[in-house]
Symmetry: C2
Subunit: 445 residues, 2 copies
Amino acid sequence: MLGAGFGGLTFCQTFSCPAAEVTLVDRQNHHLFQPLLYQVASAGLSAPEIAQPIRSILRNKRNVTVLLRNVTGFDLERREVRLDDAVLPYDYLVLALGGVTSYFGHPEWEQYAQGLKSLDDALNIRNQVLLAFEQAENSLDAAERERWMTITVVGGGATGVELAGAFAELARHVLKRDFRRIDPRQARVILLEAGPRLLQQYSPRLSAKAAARLTNLGVDVRTNVRVETIGEGFLQLAGSARMGSATIIWAAGVAANPLTQKLGAELDRAGRVRVQPDLSLPGHPEVFAIGDLALVSDKQGRSVPGVSPAAMQMARHVAGIIENELRGESSDRSSRPAFQYWDKGIMATIGRSAAVAQIGRVEISGWLAWVAWLFIHLLFLIGFRNKAAVLLQWTYSYFTYNRGSRIVTGLDGSRLAGHEPAPASGATVEQTNRKMSHVPAREQL
Amino acid sequence: MLGAGFGGLTFCQTFSCPAAEVTLVDRQNHHLFQPLLYQVASAGLSAPEIAQPIRSILRNKRNVTVLLRNVTGFDLERREVRLDDAVLPYDYLVLALGGVTSYFGHPEWEQYAQGLKSLDDALNIRNQVLLAFEQAENSLDAAERERWMTITVVGGGATGVELAGAFAELARHVLKRDFRRIDPRQARVILLEAGPRLLQQYSPRLSAKAAARLTNLGVDVRTNVRVETIGEGFLQLAGSARMGSATIIWAAGVAANPLTQKLGAELDRAGRVRVQPDLSLPGHPEVFAIGDLALVSDKQGRSVPGVSPAAMQMARHVAGIIENELRGESSDRSSRPAFQYWDKGIMATIGRSAAVAQIGRVEISGWLAWVAWLFIHLLFLIGFRNKAAVLLQWTYSYFTYNRGSRIVTGLDGSRLAGHEPAPASGATVEQTNRKMSHVPAREQL
């Protein structure tokens, strides 16, 4: 089992074959509640509030071993996964490695336009946006100030819409009285979409509602615009002048984890594996790809979207197949059931107190949709993470011996690879000298 | 006003002279509730729970301007503070720059033994300890595993005692069922103290109680030991063999911010400024040093300790002097009152449900002291930060338009100095390739 996202975790939680040993490998020590990541990026939630250590989620699954390791490749013939300094043999392999931000053939844009896929991405965005306002406060030049106070979100899908709404509110409400030289309410939030409308998976009516609501919040929504170049602090749109923007967020593209390229299987443009109806790799019935990695169609012939319910459904499907075969109930691999996707609907918030939702043919929008969104996410988050504030957390820690914040962020690969004692602080004396925060001693009443 | 710790913030909050302009400069965007920093390091609390944006604390002080800047030096004759790319003139200057970790003439130890003074320090320690257990789980060599599972805390003051207790509980209770190949309860937590006993500001009876309690928690307490060398993953104690320890925390020394060296004033060994009884610099009645920067004696001739109540009392004292002089009530600078320290007592926790406290001649320990500690810190923290869990926070954000997590961490100086658009992620495509966390798309029910 590779990857501890919604797919990988659901697999481990549903797979019930005590005789089988499951090894779960992930690059991070935490599972991330991805649907609320935009709130971490916009400073609404703290990182540990939407992440949970994989080990503690699977604590009671005694046949599951969790490894914090990098996967570097596969040897499908020898049935081995290569880790950076070890090899992991398998009988069955389930790939649930998820997606990465894709810059559509412009990898050089990555350094100027932050994507949003991990906690580190979200913390980078938060730092970037908050520091841009600080820089604007420090700047004496009007044009310069305007550039610092411009936030551009590229991509009008759900992530882009939710981010733009959250930034507009951050500037207009949260920060409004905190500065002396600038008025954060004059910050510009620009949302760029290449297609003719926002939220293209939704009905045109809901798209229009979302755009109207964003405009109302002060977001400058622009559709049918194509980004030609992104550089340090500016964008160039097709057919128009350079646009200065200190903060640029890339929410326009997702691709499957590039490790799929090492499988030797057929991939689509986004790097997804063209799997069999049972979700296995062609020619390798013992290898499955699920979640954002898998290219599979639903009954209507549309490809199953990269959303968490799809990943979870695929995980349950594969767990069922493997259980059956291990129990000897079914050894005929050609008679495996085909995966069926059950669409539960889609939903996106637009700032506070508005949302759009589409569940089959039912469409809701506005405050009612927002309440539904809040309710559903709280429900999921509470199930996912029973966390409270300091007081509650202390009470909780006291009685359960559990802790809330066991989250590693800032992992950059090299820390895991070598045998350094640990990621020791890279701070030098020079750097320490520059620290100015007042630090009183701490043993006091 | 330089520094937004307990001293700097108290000054801004108490100083009430609407005609005067106050500029508060700090390297960080947040004020830190330092007494709970050890809980962030030991994964009990998340970073935003003990930090608050300086701007939002001082939002209603309309005559206070907050600048997120580096101080690089002073020109006391011209009455100017030098920032990295600007100069700030002043009539009065209050220095509240706080302390830094001091390695007693061994700056090279810093890279191997993490200090604990800032949120970044705390997050480094947390990452280091959590990753060490992961490495132990990955390791097949017994000696190697033992090294990964050894945590050494150097320094038996309050910080060291609280950290050691928290780590012992983390290993023995929080992590105990999360691993498959190692037993975290076998982790060693070693607390080294050069002096004859822990907590030397406390009575010998309380020191003994603290040591007994720590031993009971499984901490290996060693007094009268001198550290000779610290290297990558090991310590060498005077008169004994090398000791392997993947995690080494330095809680042994604090010095004043090295910027004091640029004042041209007389300093003590720890870099503190020998101030006049009114807390001003000799020869510069318009410049004050407070908090951990100031070397000042109490009525009994003992030097005032570097604790937050002292910093806050000094801040109020200086605010009073400046107010009087600005109002013209007192222009005779030689008749300024002398600072009087009122000792409120000291207190330290030892793991969960035990603490020691010394308030004048009253000594308490054990569960009662712990309840007192909890009560006092909750009281302060609630006053400081009215934060709740996700649900509460959402409700709160909804009605107050406030947000809980506007905290910048990971600042390294260079980000503020230049005019890069922002601290763009340094991630390369190579690095992204290595990311394995499963990332389902997010617009779903």
